[in-house]
């Protein structure tokens, strides 16, 4: 056979590591996504970076602090805030079945509405934690970032979001610790269990202490020492 290692290696480097190039030209749809991507991607890193992202959302008529941006990032399955890879961007738009800014713009109201459904909120909420961490190796989200994220997301579902944020504000400095994934997820569970009816709260249940503290802040009895 006329198999040649040199040619193969050269071809590999020409196409780049991602191998996406192989899919090139598989359809007009993909071509459109490709051109859209190059509009925002930075030339040096071959990724959409912070400037690109700002421009992207500007074009969509969205403020960068709009919670809908989180829904879009969720669909992109973005690993990290502040950058989209080509795979994430194109794959995400494909999932949403749109290929132009105008099409995506039309979808924004329905994307926003997803935050008000149980399932949609849960997905975006859980996604947001890992997405917003400084880097993947970290286990916790910084307290301030968590607070900001909560103020963005909680109003959609969580009945006592104002109280929760006020409670966080008033926490003594030594208690303003970084938020771990357990607390993050359990706050959602807390909402699902109580649905705004705080009477359903059971102090002997396995809530993280911060949620117990919150309930105390709300005027509920803390658990007794004796067991």
């Amino acid at each position: 056979t006329n198999y040649d290692v040199n040619t193969a290696v050269n071809r590999f480097y020409e196409l780049g590591y991602t191998g996406t190039a192989l899919k090139q030209g598989t359809g007009a749809f993909d071509k459109k996504l490709e051109t859209l991507y190059t509009q925002y991607a930075s030339k040096e890193s071959q990724k959409i970076e912070i400037d690109g992202i700002i421009k992207f959302f500007e074009d969509l008529g969205l403020d960068i602090m709009d919670p809908t941006t989180l829904v879009i990032s969720y669909y992109f399955n973005a690993k990290k805030s502040g950058e989209y890879t080509k795979e994430e961007f194109c794959g995400g738009l494909q999932k949403l079945n749109v290929s132009t800014i105008a099409d995506l713009k039309k979808k924004i109201p329905s994307l926003k509405a997803e935050l008000s459904t149980d399932e949609g909120f849960k997905n975006v909420y859980k996604f947001a934690f890992n997405f917003s961490k400084e880097n993947a190796s970290q286990k916790c989200l910084e307290f301030e970032s968590a607070k900001a994220l909560w103020s963005l997301l909680l109003p959609f579902k969580f009945a006592h979001h104002d109280e929760w944020l006020r409670f966080l504000e008033r926490l003594p400095k030594e208690k303003q610790k970084d938020v771990n994934s357990d607390l993050w997820n359990m706050l959602l569970e807390f909402h699902l269990q109580t649905r705004g009816d705080l009477k359903k709260y059971d102090p002997y249940s396995a809530w993280p202490t911060l949620i117990d503290d919150f309930m105390q802040f709300m005027g509920y009895q803390p658990q007794e020492q004796e067991y």
Binding site: N180, D182, S205, Q223, Q225, Y227
Partner: protein, 724 residues
């Protein structure tokens, strides 16, 4: 001879008739309570002749009829004697039962006589079993009547205080028996070639007994005593307890034949004895005692405030307070324990438990309890006492110590006190110190801090020996203390330059030590050392100018340096001794204050001030204590307390987390509340030095989740799973 003989139908009929007549006789004899065993035997002999094919059916039918008759006879008898006393009625029942027992024995005999036949036809087991089943079925209705009678009897016994006779226990035995022998087997004993009846009591059929008899009985007992309790409501505690004891003892006699074992607990619950005892001991005994102890302390302290303040007085006062405090508590506890009536074990235990609980509660609530206890033991460990006296005080100390809730915290304080005692050589008997450690070990088991105590004592012993044998000299004594065991901090800013007069000795020591333990690193802990210096003043008014200065090692270094030259600037003195600035200042200021050294600016000196020895020094005391204030103070300062609290907290966190991981490793999956419960129980049982608080455990669990030792189970947030 063949057993199986065909006989005519007529003959069978005749024989049956005869047999029935005999049986009537037997049945009649039942009622008189004396079974006619002779007729019975005759009957069996006769019926043994009947060996037709439907013989088996006949026997069964006969059995059933007999049993029915028997039970009906009892019922009828009870009915006609309804006006009899309950005792009499029960006597009747028990009489019938003994009849029945004879009946069973006879049947067994009969079966044995025709054993071969039955055995061959494989029917013998069925006959016996069936007859017993009949009996059970029919007797069931009778049982309720019997139980009712028993309850009446007990009621009567309780009001009149008559102890029922043994008939009662027999009747109850009947009930229990019937429940057990649901399943019976008959076996042939191969040795004697005899049949044996085996009742299978392993299948627990006592449910009936519990439902019909035991539970209603306990319920009735509970009601009875609750009524009594409300009757006694107005009584004072002591009267109440005496009456309760009297009734419990009486009840034991009345119910002894009932064979029910946890009646007493039910009675104690109904009388709310435990909570009342606790309330009594807390409110009436220990609370006043602890309150007056508190008042005594406050009184002493306010009295002292009016006097001129002096450290020594203050220390003496604290020791006095602590000693009296321990003494008062021990006396009260001993007195109270003596008062417990020693007549009933369970009642006695309830008292003891109430005392333990309330004593512990009051001790935990008492402010400064651990400090007082520490002062107490520190004080007597410094005293010259006889062995018996040491033992007595150590026992007193231990009595209170075992009730302390935060033993681990106390041990930390004790370590510091012990360290101070050992370093300052204030302790009076090393054996007594060892005994203390053994006592700690006995009451809380092997604990790291206690091991450290032991190592501290061992260090001291080894050093004494080393100094005596290997490093003999009169000038210098060097102690090597293991850094793990001793709660001492090295001052790292020291860069000590030793005076030429004994630098040689020190080098010799380090050389020798390194020869023996060449891998060990040793550092100076000069801040803990002390010295004695002969000081000669030109002013010979007192003691011919000869004084003894008791100083710290730092002061010794300063004075030795001063001895080399007439005067030094402060800076030179500090550089040439190499003492850190903080220690240097406090030690030098004390020497200036005592006028051993002179400085023109007194203690407001600067780097360039000149220091001289006061050659005209005089004092009314020969021996002068020069220690700077910081090292004399007996008060624990705040930072020390908070640092100990952090250490204790950290230690506890470690222990809790270790136990949590251990539990999860074994259980794999566990619900939140179960985990906390098991953790608390395990720590209480195994660690014994503290009682973990709920919140602390919860925090530890959260921490373990964060560190990914455990995780929550998806879809069930209340359960945790061990992460491999």
């Amino acid at each position: 001879m063949s057993v199986f003989q065909p006989i005519s139908e007529e003959a069978t009929k005749y024989t049956l008739n005869q047999a029935t007549k005999l049986l009537e006789k037997v049945t009649c004899s039942f009622r008189t309570g004396k079974i006619d065993e002779n007729s019975f035997y005759e009957f069996f002999k006769l019926s043994a002749q009947i060996r037709s094919s439907n013989y088996f059916k006949l026997i069964l039918a006969w059995h059933y009829e007999q049993i029915l008759n028997f039970v009906n006879a009892i019922k009828a008898d009870l009915q006609s004697n309804i006006n009899l006393e309950v005792e009499e009625q029960i006597k009747l029942i028990s009489k019938y039962y003994s009849c029945f027992q004879i009946f069973v024995v006879q049947i067994k005999q009969f079966l044995l006589s025709i054993e071969d036949f039955l055995y061959k036809t494989q029917l013998w087991t069925t006959v016996f079993k069936k007859s017993f089943e009949y009996f059970r079925k029919e007797f069931e209705g009778l049982k309720e009547i019997m139980i009712e009678k028993i309850f009446k009897l007990i009621e009567k016994a309780r009001t009149n205080y008559v102890i029922p006779n043994e008939e009662l226990s027999r009747v109850i035995q009947i009930i229990i028996d019937l429940d057990f022998k649901k399943d019976i087997k008959i076996e042939r004993d191969l040795k004697n070639n005899e049949l044996r009846v085996i009742s299978d009591s392993s299948t627990d059929n006592s449910k009936n007994y519990i439902q019909l008899f035991k539970n209603p009985f306990l319920e009735k007992t509970k009601n009875h005593f609750q009524k009594l309790a409300s009757l006694w409501a107005g009584m004072n505690d002591v009267e109440y307890f005496n009456l309760a004891l009297q009734y419990i003892k009486r009840e034991e006699e009345i119910c002894y034949p009932l064979l029910i074992n946890n009646t007493k607990e039910t009675i104690m619950d109904a009388l709310q004895l435990k909570s009342r005892l606790q309330l009594y001991y807390q409110q009436k005994i220990f609370k006043p005692v602890f309150e007056s102890a508190q008042k005594k302390i406050t009184d002493y302290q306010s009295e002292e405030k009016n006097k001129a303040y002096s450290k020594k007085n203050f220390r003496d006062l604290n020791q006095k307070i602590a000693t009296e405090w321990v003494h008062d508590l021990i006396q009260t506890k001993k007195y109270v324990e003596k008062q417990i009536p020693n007549e009933d074990l369970l009642f006695n235990l309830a008292h003891q438990e109430a005392i333990d609980k309330t004593f512990q509660y009051c001790l935990t609530e008492f402010k400064n309890a651990s400090q007082l206890l520490l002062l107490y033991c520190d004080y007597f460990m410094k005293q010259n006492l006889s062995d018996e006296e040491y033992e007595r005080r150590q026992a007193d100390f231990n009595t209170i110590f075992v009730y302390m809730q935060s033993k681990d915290e106390f041990l930390q304080y004790y370590q510091q006190a012990l360290c101070k005692r050992l370093i300052c050589f204030n302790f009076k008997s090393i054996d007594a110190e060892y005994k203390m450690v053994t006592q700690f070990k006995n009451s809380i088991g092997v604990h790291t801090t206690v091991i450290r105590f032991q190592n501290m004592l061992t260090d001291l012993k080894i050093n004494e020996q080393y100094n005596k044998e290997k490093f003999q000299n009169d000038v210098l004594k060097i102690y090597i203390l293991s850094s793990v065991a001793w709660p001492l901090l090295r001052n790292e800013q020291d860069n000590i330059i030793f005076p030429s007069s004994f630098v040689g000795l020190i080098n010799q020591f380090t050389y020798q030590y390194n020869q023996i333990y060449n891998k060990r690193k040793i550092y100076w802990l000069l801040n803990e050392g002390s010295a004695e210096i002969n000081f000669i003043s030109d002013n010979m008014d007192n003691f011919g100018g000869k004084y003894i200065l008791r100083t710290t090692s730092y002061q010794m270094l300063i004075l030795m340096k001063m001895n080399e030259k007439d005067q030094f600037t402060v800076k030179d003195l500090m550089d040439q001794t190499g003492i850190n600035k903080y220690s240097f200042d406090s030690n030098l200021k004390q020497l200036i204050k005592l006028k051993i050294l002179n400085c023109s600016e007194n203690d407001k000196y600067t780097e360039f001030s000149e220091i001289k020895i006061n050659t005209q020094f005089y004092s009314t005391k020969k021996s002068i204590l020069c220690l700077p204030h910081a090292s004399v103070s007996t008060q624990q300062d705040d930072s020390n307390i908070s640092s100990i609290q952090t250490t204790v907290e950290q230690e506890r966190t470690q222990i809790i987390k270790a136990y949590l991981v251990k539990i999860m490793k074994i259980r794999k999956v566990m619900a939140h509340n179960d985990l906390i419960k098991e953790c608390v129980e395990l720590i209480k049982k195994c660690s014994r030095t503290f009682e973990p608080c709920f919140l602390h455990i919860k925090n530890c669990i959260e921490n373990l989740i964060e560190q990914e030792y455990i995780k929550r189970i998806e879809n069930d947030y209340k359960k945790y799973q061990y992460v491999q």
